[in-house]
Subunit: 337 residues, 4 copies
Amino acid sequence: MAAQYAIALFGAGRIGKVHSRSISDHPSTRLKYVVDPMPGPAQTLADSYGASVVDEATALGDPEVAAIVIGSATSTHADLVEKGLKAGKAVFCEKPIDLSIARVTACLKAVMDCSAPLFVAFNRRFDPAIAEMRRRIMAGEIGPLELVTVISKDPGALPIDYLAVSGGMFRDMTIHDFDMARYILGEEPITVSAAASALTDPEIAGIGDIDTACVTMQCASGRIAVITNSRRASYGYDQRVEAHGALGTLRTENVPITMLVQEREDGIRREKPLFFFLERYAESYRREWDHFVRVLQGEEKPNPTGEDGRRALLLAEAAYHSLETGRRVTVVEMEGG
Amino acid sequence: MAAQYAIALFGAGRIGKVHSRSISDHPSTRLKYVVDPMPGPAQTLADSYGASVVDEATALGDPEVAAIVIGSATSTHADLVEKGLKAGKAVFCEKPIDLSIARVTACLKAVMDCSAPLFVAFNRRFDPAIAEMRRRIMAGEIGPLELVTVISKDPGALPIDYLAVSGGMFRDMTIHDFDMARYILGEEPITVSAAASALTDPEIAGIGDIDTACVTMQCASGRIAVITNSRRASYGYDQRVEAHGALGTLRTENVPITMLVQEREDGIRREKPLFFFLERYAESYRREWDHFVRVLQGEEKPNPTGEDGRRALLLAEAAYHSLETGRRVTVVEMEGG
Amino acid sequence: MAAQYAIALFGAGRIGKVHSRSISDHPSTRLKYVVDPMPGPAQTLADSYGASVVDEATALGDPEVAAIVIGSATSTHADLVEKGLKAGKAVFCEKPIDLSIARVTACLKAVMDCSAPLFVAFNRRFDPAIAEMRRRIMAGEIGPLELVTVISKDPGALPIDYLAVSGGMFRDMTIHDFDMARYILGEEPITVSAAASALTDPEIAGIGDIDTACVTMQCASGRIAVITNSRRASYGYDQRVEAHGALGTLRTENVPITMLVQEREDGIRREKPLFFFLERYAESYRREWDHFVRVLQGEEKPNPTGEDGRRALLLAEAAYHSLETGRRVTVVEMEGG
Amino acid sequence: MAAQYAIALFGAGRIGKVHSRSISDHPSTRLKYVVDPMPGPAQTLADSYGASVVDEATALGDPEVAAIVIGSATSTHADLVEKGLKAGKAVFCEKPIDLSIARVTACLKAVMDCSAPLFVAFNRRFDPAIAEMRRRIMAGEIGPLELVTVISKDPGALPIDYLAVSGGMFRDMTIHDFDMARYILGEEPITVSAAASALTDPEIAGIGDIDTACVTMQCASGRIAVITNSRRASYGYDQRVEAHGALGTLRTENVPITMLVQEREDGIRREKPLFFFLERYAESYRREWDHFVRVLQGEEKPNPTGEDGRRALLLAEAAYHSLETGRRVTVVEMEGG
């Protein structure tokens, strides 16, 4: 068996478990360390994969560790990115690097001279349908792009305690759609307009958050992207992307649980979409890890990068600014952020 | 055979032919007169249905004429609405009443005291799928509405000569989508934001028009509607409406030419959507005439009304104003129009 | 207005009404006579179209009558075909010519020398999807055919009184599928095997009929066709045809009432198929009349013909013989019938 | 980590690799031995999972081995089933136990008194859509069954050398569909009729095999099942099952590679089905191993069993007998086999 890259995981929560599985399943990587303030979950996760629970310094100080995976609380991301890269470790960071655009910008500046690679995990880019859509657009299958539509609805709002510290829907949820829009557009949006409401739950209005929104962006070429969001789709996780070009469209439909169809007197019924991101993007998580291993092997450049993470956050900032001012906001206005 | 309502048709063009067929097919109506400045087409159309070509005064002066159908050039609509209603005729008017909101407002004021009914022909409301969607929303099938999406793309831009006098895409094409959004929302939008580009043809930019757009509207309740438009969908007429409520969604998909499927090495291919509005909304044209006959019979109130026509135009005005100012525009601002 | 062919209709029942409408709607034909033993329905139907109720002799004796449409009771078909053709009238005969293959064969022999055309109304051939499927198969789109599948289920059994005189499911219902198989195969089946049961209703077993069946046919080239039938599909009229060739398949799916989709917690629900043959094949009835008019005008040969009607019945006979004997039956065995 | 069952795998070919992966991925099993006459592939496979290459006697003689997986050449299956069960090992046997019904019957008789469990791997029963379909039928969702349709087409014939020793299409390919029909029917077929041809490749006719077929079965209750097969579907692996009951149908559609849709001037194109059984039934292979582990743990009875394997082969025998005799063949006739 070939040598394996040793990986240190920060964060033993839900997403940490997903990445542990990928690390373990991949023939070129193994989980060496788990770092988490909660000793119980850390030990359980470590035990499942023959890893050890250690503190941050041990993990970052072990020269065998090739890369760190940051799946801990958002507030710890930027610091860990800096420490990891400065320790010469490749970094796989869950989005976002930080909820503050200033902090993200500072972080990226601080690590500018580090040679180790930084990957920011917008997992949807690795969905087989999305990746294939992008490949075909680049290959000219639908001609020059004109209009991109991203429909993204969660099956139900997360707990209010989570939402209260989430940074708000645009930074927590729409951030994925901003990245998706940039990925599919193949061009940077320069203006952003947003409309939003809190309709699904009075508690969401209570914490000053939103749950229903439409964000429109425009590029220098004139091409337009529109994102539609809801925190609550009773039929499940609704994830659709549509690209309209001069020669046609490419669009991804929801992935049903199975292809079973029921035909009865009350109609023709198909299965609901796969329940939520863990189910819907299971394959994406595997593929993003494959990509990261190829980055470790020097075969690919990290993609998306820290700058991609910053750009998505800039769009979220612009969307909030548009909500407040009622204006079409330019992205450059936000750079001061 | 029961007595039939005699109908006078203004305009012997494409849409005039559609209505002549409906008038003739309906057991309760017959085409008595055709009025058109072009004698050739008028005579041909009149001959097909045993009607006579007459001038405006004759048509409006004949006490046997129960109703007039206005399918002539847009610039003639408002005058004919006024003359028809003042002559005591029921009026079936193709949208829009006028391209100027001031003229529309004046026209509706001028006929305020007329007792004859005025119907403004937003034919899509009569599409079986759309009408059923609306019925079910009203019946609570998807709970309180939160988000309405209207996707509307033409199969290809109309001749530049037509576009030059069309009033612009928002007044000419999106007007249908503004009405659709109002119809499905069941609540009046109070703000409008728009983004638009001319991407499909340099000639369109040349006349100062647009061909690709996204318009977002918001109601007092917070519910949001978004319209996406293109003048050119290479695969045909793309007409989709999606309503998202607390309990689920209702959406209409495109109607394919047939349900034929081809499965080959190069993929699984289905038929394109029905080509354009005459094909896609053939049944809607029949049903809107059935409705108008029931209006003549006193069984139903006209719906949509002149005010519905004015409201859709107000939204178009607001969309243009948003384009120019980069602002979220309130509909009340436009009332001064 | 051009001269119109005068048509005499035999049978003022359900199918007579369908054809009356087509006759009236077509610019080149008009309904002149209705012949029916029931004076009430005959008069009502005649009145709707400005026709007269007359007896058979009058209808057949009027030199102005160009064609007769036979939509009367099955037992009258063969006689009327003979009388009509011998009187020099073009004949449009509802399937079947007779329930007895001997009678059909005798009838066709009796009219062999008549120059007027005989059309047997297998309406499904005129369905836009089916006709397009056939056109594309002929054009080689899926290469040489290998396998044809016809799925045909009624939404619910007809009244037992009707079934008792229907000739049995294979002659009454499957007859359409036998014709469809022949039409799509483009080659004559030479053997037939059948399996059948009475499962949906004890009354059907009580009259010795069947309601659930599978019939397999094979051609000299080896290509195979299979028909699956049920008298009762709770979700509606199920009409699907699938052709498998060396280069792929062509298949027709059911036509839903509308393209409306409901997405809720209990699944993704689409509309049921159009209810029954009058709805599903409305366009086919119009198109088969257009074809018959072109036959009257000498522009096309009748298709399907009397021989097509006889061939479909032969396959039904073979299917019954297979049920009884448990054997794969050759079609030539049935010719003695 | 809990103790794991040690597994010995017979056969290091394609299917052996699939099972090795499942054995390794499951927390309760590990691959201990690989047995294969070809030392190269055996060693490669063993190395990937830390297993050893040994001979049959060693594998069967090691008391630590809890179960054997038989994925070797068909001709070795029956002997290995006998040896494995007599050695007290649980047996997971790829279908078929043997191509000769007499040998299968003898084998099952020989192991009648063995207490270790025998599982015959008809993997499709573990497909999530199929398993859910069966569950819902059992739960009465579509009422009493009347008609079962299995459409099963391979994407292209296997090499002629393979086919020459495959036992013929009914024993090699349709065997899965016979099992599927039995699984869905929930009742034993008592008669079988078959029609078949060799149409896709003259070489197939050359070895006396078939590639296109339709098999009809009937149960004592009258319910009917029909299987349609082709060895060559140019668009890929076509796997559909449809169950029709008194209250409606349940059917499984093909699983597309992704849910990507392309809309262009030449039509609306979706992705082809997943290429072949390894892709289409990847999840089924995982789930059948989960089931087998629960059998090892004494939590479930093996299902399907050796008798299920014999029953499917009996139906294949009956289908061949029907082809030869042109008769509807009873399954009891085959028991003498």
